[in-house]
């Protein structure tokens, strides 16, 4: 299941690691997640559903859903998709609910950190926010759940669109490296601190004036250490999660978010399967389909429920040139298979999006990718008490914010997909705006003139027909913000 040769990525499978899975000896490589190592050896069933004991595989691959939880070295509920594989660890499936570890943080010292700006998430938005703020001399702490910075850039092997300042023409994986380099430089200068493999678990009552308090759990060797973070401003750049689609069989191992498959093959060099059905012809569905072919995996077809292809024509065209059919007004009806995906039934839809009787067609496949949109990750934001609204054009619930990306609570900012689903290029600019605005608000204002420039860049990127959704979303947000302030 390993990808041995790839046209874009040089995988290094250097250091072999040995571990135990349900008492069996297994092997993986340094750099693997537990999930990728298991997957590479053909293990696709990760959990069992509580009620009907149905087998489940992992879905999101980026630590946002719960379908990959296992017990590692006795610690329950470890998200194996983002937990690093280590030598000699002991991994077990959890067939029933695990016991709560007793008083995990009791008697353990808690560490306290004071910073100017806490940045939650080290993806394109969070990294740009951090670099911008640190360049203003603000002290920044970045917290991210993964083992590495870059967020979802680390799996984007395609070249980005946009213009020079948004690094157009550069592959996402290379943009991640460039941003990482800048962060490392600022780390050396003592302006940025980085906490990886760490989760911001909550927002707490402040005991210092003008400070926001967050709790962070850092994982070390699958054990948890509690941190208290006090910051004058916080930037939520916590990304988004892929949407699920309702149909019979959607929980069979072999059904993944398209982004999860991208992670598996482009980060860990593991094939998700051999024959893929892609659901959704937006940019994600089109791009991941193309990348599957690059990894040597067959894409049977792309089905799209809408009567037209949603993504860029250039992405659709390069897929069609490879002979992959894109079926518009088609959806997935159901999946079949014994404990794993063995095939799908697709169906044609009429102009009211209703299935047309007798149009069922079987598609043989072992993998189904869902590329049916994303939902902003806002759970932590909900807790802070910022004003939140449901805005379909932004992908769901999002925190209202002004043109400096500040929410309704002073000092709390958002950027990237967490502020509405868009492209990585817009996420980077939003991050720059949030980082700069937060630094300026704290008195680090040497380059505040750049704010206008970034705002214009952002507006320009959204000016075309593909920027219509974010434009509508932003109009709605603006209106709701006005309403809120009118009432004050």
């Amino acid at each position: 299941m390993r990808i041995k040769k790839h046209p874009i990525i040089d995988f290094k499978f250097d250091k072999k690691l040995r571990f135990y899975f349900n008492n069996k000896i297994m092997y993986g490589f340094d750099g693997d997640s537990i999930a990728s190592a298991l997957h590479a050896q053909g293990v696709k069933k990760f959990t069992t559903s509580q009620k009907y004991a149905r087998p489940r595989g992992f879905f999101c691959g980026i630590g946002k859903c719960s379908s990959c939880l296992m017990r590692v070295n006795g610690v329950p509920n470890v998200r194996t998709c983002i937990a690093p594989l280590k030598d000699s660890i002991y991994v077990e499936t959890q067939d029933k609910l695990p016991l709560l570890p007793t008083a995990e943080f009791k008697d353990k010292p808690k560490e306290t950190v004071d910073v100017d700006i806490l940045v939650i998430g080290a993806g394109p938005a969070g990294l740009c926010a951090s670099i911008e703020a640190a360049n203003q001399n603000a002290r920044v702490l970045i917290v991210d759940e993964n083992q590495f910075v870059g967020g979802q850039l680390v799996k984007q092997t395609h070249k980005f669109f946009g213009s020079k300042q948004e690094k157009a023409g550069t592959r996402g994986i290379d943009i991640a490296k460039e941003l990482e380099k800048e962060v490392v430089e600022l780390q050396k200068k003592g302006k940025i601190d980085l906490m990886l493999d760490s989760t911001v678990i909550g927002y707490y009552e402040r005991d210092k004036k003008n400070y926001h308090k967050f709790g962070v759990v850092k994982r070390e060797k699958y054990e948890n250490i509690l941190y208290e973070i006090n910051c004058k401003a916080a930037i939520f750049a916590c990304g988004a999660m892929e949407n699920m689609l309702l149909f019979p069989g959607n929980d069979l191992p072999g059904v993944y978010g398209a982004g999860a498959v991208q992670t598996l093959m482009n980060v860990y060099g593991v094939k998700p399967g051999n024959k893929v059905l892609m659901v959704g012809a937006g940019n994600v569905g089109l791009i991941v389909s193309y990348q599957l072919i690059q990894a040597g995996i067959d894409v049977e077809c792309v089905v799209e429920a809408a009567p037209k292809i949603g993504g860029y024509n250039v992405h659709a065209a390069k897929l069609r040139r490879c002979g992959v059919p894109i079926l518009i007004s088609h959806s997935i009806k159901e999946l079949y298979g014994d404990g794993k995906v063995e095939g799908a039934v697709i169906v044609k839809l009429d102009d009211k999006w209703e299935p047309i009787k007798g149009s069922d067609e079987k598609v043989k496949c072992d993998t189904v990718c869902l590329a049916v949109g994303l939902t902003p990750s806002t759970r932590l934001l909900f807790q802070t008490g910022v004003k939140i609204a449901f805005i379909p054009e932004a992908g769901g619930y999002i925190a209202l914010h002004d043109d400096l990306m500040q929410t309704s609570v002073k000092g709390l900012y958002i950027s990237g997909d967490a502020s509405g689903i868009e492209e990585a290029s817009t996420a980077m600019i939003e991050g720059k705006i949030a980082g700069l605005a937060a630094a300026v608000s704290l008195g680090y204002d040497k380059n505040k003139d750049l704010l206008k420039k970034y705002q214009i860049e952002l507006k320009n990127l959204r000016a075309g027909p593909f920027g219509q959704k974010p434009r509508i979303a932003n109009k709605k947000i603006e209106k709701l913000m006005e309403k809120k302030y009118a009432g004050l």
Partner: protein, 153 residues
Amino acid sequence: MQDYEKTGVLSLKDLKMPTKKQLKKGVAILECIQEIPCDPCVESCPVCAITMKDINAPPINNYEKCIGCTKCVGVCPGLAIFVVKIKDGKALVTLQYEFLPVPEVGDKVEALNRKGAKVGFGIVRRVVKQGKTMVITVEIDEDLAMDVRNIRV
């Protein structure tokens, strides 16, 4: 709604066609007709033949100015630029290729159209590596010049 929005495949009527004379010297066909925010091709052009009104406008190639240098081919994030040159009853098509194995000069490859169907064979005439991107020139029959847009090695 345009046909290509349903199929993903552009037809010749969607494109600005060069004249025979222009094809003889070789020109870049920009198969990028939607308004998307992107402009590396404009920056790459050494003779300023490619222009766009603003970052969202589709690029336009001035075939009179274009020298067919193929610099824009490898920078296009959409893999949507093809340089076509007609010479002695043959056509040379230069395109981006991002798969393995990478062909070598002289190799015989399958020539595919915009739907991925094999329409003939081609001979690889040039392979240029730009980072991880391969820019490949393939020689095909002249009548396939505006049809062949991919190869299978």
